[in-house]
């Protein structure tokens, strides 16, 4: 007879970590960011593999449900994904290669268009507010922009291009890792659980499950958020009459994976397009900025809480604070990684806090150790 008598549905005890645990969580997140920033060549493919495994797990389970073994199912879904990826890459390279020269001319055209919009806007500001004219706002900004753009290629683009080329081979590891995550993830899960003493076993299972759910919720939430952002921006940009509205919306939504900085970069891209394609109607560019601000607000208050925020359960103040810390500690990668990392360290910290403060678990473990010692020494007396 087991667990009999008490049929109430009781909510689990609120085992929220205390201030010491929170301090540890923040410290661990910062330390991990610093460490991960030095091994981005491994972190990027590992994250890609994790996202891939989350996305490929449902079709893999369908195959397993149909009778295919785990090994076969993981090989099939990974192979199909690789074939589709190679086909898409080949098609994209062929298409892009045919337009390489047009693109270079196009980039320069859009940059000139953006610069022209900026000059017109500054001139309009100086005309409206004489204080700006007295401060030579237009001349100052134009000079700064000119100096910055002259060295932009050497200071920003070239190092970025070298980094991308250096990371490209590592990125190919992503599908490779994903296959093994899918095939052996379950067994590795059991391997970790077997290493834990009996007293902590159930809590460890719960912790591993929570970690998996947190990561999965974050990344699937991110994909959903990308789709929602693309739709919201796409509708707005299409209504404004921008060419390639949906492609621009998709690019901006992907840029938004990097909090704040990515959104600004996406907005900048759209403004450049609007300023160039509508040179005599700067209002289009201003409406595009308003659209981005509106979508940003919708993201923060509606879309993100409904997708990512729902499962991370982060206080908005903590989210913003950690974004600044992540950016300060590890730059752009820190901005992108800090929230999922914080979600995982929160789960681990809460579980550790619960385990370390539970005297009964310690007592049970110590008792089990005494029993084992007595058993091992049984015939030695």
């Amino acid at each position: 007879m087991t667990d009999a008598g008490d049929t109430r549905s009781v909510e689990p005890a609120a085992n929220r970590p205390g201030p010491v645990a929170w301090a540890g969580i923040f410290a661990a997140t910062c330390l991990l960011l610093v460490a991960l920033n030095h091994i981005l060549w491994l972190v990027i493919p590992a994250l890609m593999a994790l996202v891939l495994s989350y996305m490929l797990e449902p079709p893999m389970r369908r195959l397993m449900y149909a009778g295919v073994g785990r090994e076969g199912a993981s090989a099939i879904v990974t192979s199909v994904f690789l074939v589709l990826l190679m086909a898409a890459t080949l098609a994209l390279l062929t298409w892009a290669g045919a337009r390489a020269e047009d693109w270079q001319a196009g980039v320069e055209r859009y940059l000139r268009g953006g610069a022209a919009l900026l000059e017109r806007t500054l001139a309009a500001l100086e005309a409206r507010w004489p204080a700006f004219a007295r401060a030579n706002l237009a001349a100052s900004v134009t000079t700064w922009l000119s100096e910055y753009s002259n060295t932009f290629l050497e200071r920003q683009v070239q190092p970025l291009a070298v980094s991308i080329l250096a990371w490209l081979p590592a990125a190919l590891l992503g599908p490779f890792f994903a296959f093994f995550f899918l095939r052996d993830g379950r067994r590795f899960h059991g391997f970790i659980a077997r290493a834990v003493p009996n007293a902590y076993f159930e809590k460890t299972l719960a912790l591993l499950h929570e970690m998996h759910q947190t990561g999965r919720s974050y990344f699937t939430g991110l994909v959903k958020l990308t789709v929602v952002d693309t739709l919201a921006l796409g509708i707005g940009l299409w209504a404004l009459g921008l060419p390639g509205a949906w492609l621009l919306a998709l690019i901006a939504a992907v840029f938004a994976w990097v909090p704040y900085v990515g959104s600004i970069a996406g907005c900048l891209l759209v403004v450049l397009v609007a300023a160039t394609d509508f040179p005599h109607d700067p209002a289009i560019a201003y409406w595009a900025i308003m659209l981005f601000i509106l979508v940003r607000l919708l993201d923060d208050f509606v879309f993100m809480p409904a997708t990512i925020g729902k499962n991370l359960r982060l206080h908005p103040l903590v989210s913003v604070l950690m974004l600044f810390v992540g950016g300060a500690v590890a730059g752009v990668p820190g901005l992108a990684l800090v929230l999922p990392l914080l979600g995982v360290t929160m789960v681990v910290g809460a579980a550790l806090s619960e385990i370390l403060t539970d005297g009964r678990l310690w007592a049970r473990h110590a008792y089990a150790r005494r029993l084992r010692a007595a058993q091992d020494a049984a015939d030695l007396a």
Binding site: M1, T2, S9, V10, N198, E202, L205, H209, Y367
Partner: protein
């Protein structure tokens, strides 16, 4: 070290089939269950779970014997379970605290079915999980009849 790569053996499936909870499962379904079960070994006298503890797993006795009792009253057991029995089943259904303590009477090997794994099976393997739920329901029904009729619990396992 790479033991987690070891595949399931046929004899393990036969052992699972012998358990009342998995009696109706096919070979394919047993392999799926085999993949989600964890095996733990407990020494005689070792506590498996405590009364009042948050439970999230069902335990199946593969070998040995387990005593179910109220905390602080080990001499007045509620039940003693042998190989093939299971306990902690309500943890699969809700997150209520454990209503009793479970302690190994002798060196025992238990198979552990984590609640979240069972919920995942409900989504992806509905036929399999329905079979398990049916066995679980029959067990709970027997236990309820035993409580109502006042008979000893182990006669209904």
């Amino acid at each position: 070290m790479l033991g987690f790569l070891r595949p399931a053996r046929g004899s393990q499936l036969e052992d699972l089939k012998a358990l009342s909870l998995f009696a109706d499962l096919s070979v394919r379904e047993l392999k799926i269950v085999q993949g989600v079960l964890h095996e733990r070994e407990y020494l005689a006298g070792e506590v498996i779970f405590d009364e009042g503890e948050q439970g999230n797993s069902l335990y199946i006795v593969r070998t040995g014997r387990v005593r179910i009792c109220r905390k602080g009253r080990p001499d007045s057991p509620i039940a003693e379970l042998g190989a093939g029995s299971f306990f902690g089943d309500l943890a699969l259904l809700d997150s209520a605290p454990r209503a009793a303590q479970a302690r190994a009477l002798e060196a025992s090997t238990l198979a552990v079915f984590f609640g979240s794994d069972f919920l995942a099976l409900l989504e992806t393997e509905s036929k399999l999980s329905n079979k398990i739920l049916l066995q679980l329901s029959r067990h709970l029904g027997r236990r309820l009849r035993g409580s109502v009729l006042g008979q000893r619990a182990e006669q209904h396992l």
